[in-house]
C-alpha cells in the first residue's frame, strides 16, 4: 500500500491553485483600474516617443464639462442596448420554440443558426459594410427591386444607429437562440404531455407552460446580452466609427477616440472612471431590486 503523501505542495494545494488566478486579476485588472485614478489627475503629452505627465486635474475636469459627445454617446448606448437586446430576445425566443418543434434536421438547423456568433466581429463589420454600400450593396439592390430609392444606410444620420442595430441583431440572435433552445430542449417531457392531455392548444402550452419554465434561462440570456451590448465596439468601429456626426456614437467608441486618437490619456482615464462608477452603481441598484423582488 502506498502511504498518503503529505508534502508541502499537497498541504498547500488549495492555496497555490487559487493564487495564480488571483495574481492575474490583481496585477492586470485591479492595479490598472487603480492606475486610472492617478492618470485622471494628470495631463499627458508625447515628446520623442516618451509620454510626459504633468499634474493638472483641473484641465481634465474642464475637458469633461466641455465634452459635447458624452451625452449623445450615453443616449445612443442606452437606445442601442434597449432596442437591440429586446429585438434579439423576441426573435431568439421565437426561433428556439420553432426549431424545437421541427421533426427532422434539428442539428443542421442549429448549426446554421449559430454561424454568425463565430465570425470575428471585425469581419462582421466589414461584411455588412459591403452589404450596406450605397452604390453596389445587396441591400440597396434589394431596395431597387422593391422600387425604393437607394438608402444611405451608414451615411445618413437618421439611419446610421438603426443600421448598426440591425447588424447587432443579426450577430447576436443566434446567441439568445442557443441558450434558449438548450433550455427548451431540456424541459421535462411529462409536463408538456400533461398540458396536451388537459387539452391545451399549442399557443396555450407556450404561454402558460413553456414561458414560465424558461424564465430563468431568459433572465440569464437577457443579462449576458445586455452586458455585452453595453460594451459594443468592434462592429460599430468598422461600420460608422460613430458617425455621421455623433449619430451612432457609443460609449466604448468615445473612450477609444479620447485615449488613442486624441492621445488624451488623462481625460480618457477620467471618462473611464465615470463609466466604471456607472456600471458599479447599476450593479448595486439591480441587486437591491432583485433582493426586494425576492422578498416581496
Amino acid at each position: 500500500m502506498k502511504p498518503p503523501s503529505s508534502g508541502f505542495l499537497d498541504r498547500s494545494f488549495p492555496y497555490w491553485t487559487l493564487l495564480p488566478a488571483v495574481i492575474v486579476f490583481v496585477v492586470l485588472s485591479v492595479y490598472p483600474m487603480l492606475n486610472l485614478v492617478g492618470m485622471s489627475l494628470h495631463v499627458y503629452r508625447f515628446e520623442g516617443g516618451q509620454e510626459i505627465a504633468t499634474f493638472n486635474p483641473w484641465q481634465n475636469f474642464s475637458y469633461f464639462s466641455g465634452d459635447p459627445i458624452i451625452r449623445p454617446a450615453i443616449v445612443n448606448t442606452i437606445v442601442f442596448v434597449l432596442v437591440a437586446v429586446s429585438a434579439e430576445m423576441a426573435i431568439g425566443l421565437a426561433l428556439a420554440i420553432c426549431v424545437s418543434r421541427v421533426s427532422r434536421g434539428k442539428g443542421l438547423i442549429r448549426t446554421l443558426i449559430i454561424l454568425p456568433i463565430l465570425v470575428p466581429p471585425v469581419a462582421i463589420g466589414s461584411m455588412w459594410r459591403l452589404m450596406y454600400n450605397f452604390d453596389f450593396g445587396i441591400l440597396n439592390q434589394g431596395a431597387a427591386l422593391l422600387g425604393l430609392g437607394p438608402i444611405n444606410w451608414l451615411g445618413d444620420p437618421r439611419f446610421s444607429l438603426l443600421s448598426v442595430i440591425i447588424v447587432d441583431v443579426w450577430h447576436w440572435v443566434p446567441f439568445i437562440f442557443l441558450i434558449l433552445f438548450a433550455a427548451v430542449e431540456g424541459l421535462p417531457g411529462d409536463v408538456m404531455e400533461a398540458a396536451k392531455i388537459d387539452g391545451a392548444t399549442q399557443g396555450q402550452t407556450t404561454r402558460y407552460v413553456v414561458l414560465p419554465l424558461l424564465k430563468p434561462a431568459i433572465v440569464v440570456a437577457f443579462t449576458f446580452r445586455s452586458i455585452l451590448a453595453f460594451k459594443t465596439f468592434d462592429e460599430v468601429f468598422l461600420l460608422t466609427s460613430g458617425g455621421p456626426g455623433t449619430s451612432s456614437e457609443l460609449i466604448s467608441l468615445h473612450l477609444y477616440k479620447v485615449f488613442f486618437q486624441q492621445n488624451n490619456l488623462g481625460y480618457g482615464a477620467m471618462l473611464s472612471i465615470t463609466v466604471i462608477l456607472m456600471v458599479v452603481s447599476f450593479l448595486l441598484v439591480s441587486r437591491r431590486v432583485t433582493a426586494a423582488q425576492a422578498q416581496g
Binding site: S6, A21, P120
Partner: protein
C-alpha cells in the same frame, strides 16, 4: 412536441435565409474582381486573385497576422484553461472564507461588465513601462485576463457536478490531494475543458479592441489585419471580403468539433 404551423414555417425559413445569405453574398464577392463588385453583377468571371493578394502579396501582412493570432490564441487559451480549472476547483472544494470567494466572484462580475476600453489606456502605459507594449506576450496577458472570468464560471459549473464521494473514495485509497485532482476529477471534467477551451480560443481569435491599440504592424493579429482593409484611404472591397472569409474559417472549424460540448457548458452554466 407539436408540429409547425404554416406561419412558423415561413418565419423559420425567412430567418434561415437572413442568417445564411450574407455569408453566401460575401463568399461570392470574395471571388470577384473589384470591377465586378462595383457593378454589383451576379454573373461574373471568378478569380482567386483576392485570396492570393491577401495571403501572399508584399503589401499585405495577413500571413503574419495569421501566425500572430495562432500564437496568441493557443498560448492564452492554454494558460486560461490551467489557471481557470485550478481556481474553480479550489473555490468549489475548499472552505474559503466568504470574503475571499465572494470577493473574487464579485470582482469577476464587475470586471466582466466594464468596457474593455477603460482598461486599454492603463494597460498601454504599464506595458510601455515594462517593455511589453507591441509584444505578443503583452497581448497574451490581456487575453488571459479577459477570458479567465468566463473560464472560472464555466469550470465551476462542471466541477460542481463531480460527486464528492468519488474524491472521498480516492482519499481513502491513499491518494494525495494532487493525485485525487489529477486522476479522479480531471478526467471527469474533460467536456468542460473542451467547452472552455473552444470558447476561449474563439474569443481570443476574434478579439479586436485590445489588439488594435497594443500592437503595431509586426505584432498585429487577424482582426486588426481585417480592419486595415476597410480603413485605408482607398477601401479594397474585394480583399476585405476575402480577408473576412479567411478570418472566419478557424472559428467555424473548431466550433464544428466542439459544438456539443459548448452547448452542454452553456446549459450547465445558465441553469445552475
Amino acid at each position: 412536441m407539436g408540429h409547425l404551423t404554416p406561419l412558423q414555417r415561413v418565419f423559420l425559413a425567412v430567418a434561415l435565409v437572413v442568417i445564411v445569405a450574407p455569408f453566401l453574398w460575401i463568399l461570392m464577392n470574395s471571388f470577384k474582381y473589384q470591377i465586378a463588385i462595383y457593378q454589383g453583377s451576379w454573373v461574373f468571371e471568378p478569380t482567386l486573385s483576392n485570396y492570393t493578394d491577401v495571403l501572399f502579396s508584399r503589401r499585405s501582412r495577413f500571413s503574419d497576422n495569421l501566425w500572430n493570432s495562432v500564437v496568441v490564441a493557443v498560448t492564452s487559451t492554454t494558460i486560461v484553461l490551467v489557471l481557470g480549472t485550478l481556481a474553480a476547483y479550489s473555490l468549489n472544494r475548499f472552505p474559503w472564507a466568504p470574503w475571499v470567494s465572494r470577493g473574487l466572484m464579485a470582482w469577476l462580475v464587475v470586471f466582466h461588465m466594464v468596457p474593455v476600453l477603460t482598461l486599454v489606456g492603463p494597460w498601454y502605459l504599464i506595458f510601455r513601462h515594462f517593455g511589453l507594449y507591441d509584444t505578443l506576450t503583452g497581448l497574451v496577458l490581456t487575453h488571459v485576463t479577459l477570458n479567465l472570468p468566463m473560464a472560472i464560471w464555466l469550470m465551476l459549473a462542471f466541477v460542481r457536478e463531480v460527486p464528492r464521494e468519488m474524491e472521498e473514495a480516492a482519499e481513502i485509497d491513499g491518494c494525495s490531494r494532487i493525485q485525487t485532482f489529477g486522476y479522479v476529477v480531471l478526467p471527469v471534467i474533460v467536456p468542460g475543458l473542451i467547452a472552455t477551451g473552444v470558447l476561449s480560443f474563439i474569443f481570443s481569435w476574434n478579439e479586436f479592441a485590445v489588439a488594435l491599440n497594443l500592437t503595431s504592424r509586426a505584432t498585429a493579429t487577424v482582426p486588426v489585419g481585417v480592419a486595415k482593409f476597410a480603413q485605408e484611404y482607398e477601401i479594397q472591397h474585394a480583399q476585405m471580403a476575402a480577408a473576412s472569409i479567411l478570418a472566419t474559417i478557424p472559428a467555424i472549424l473548431i466550433m464544428f468539433f466542439g459544438q456539443k460540448f459548448v452547448v452542454r457548458g452553456l446549459t450547465l452554466g445558465s441553469v445552475k
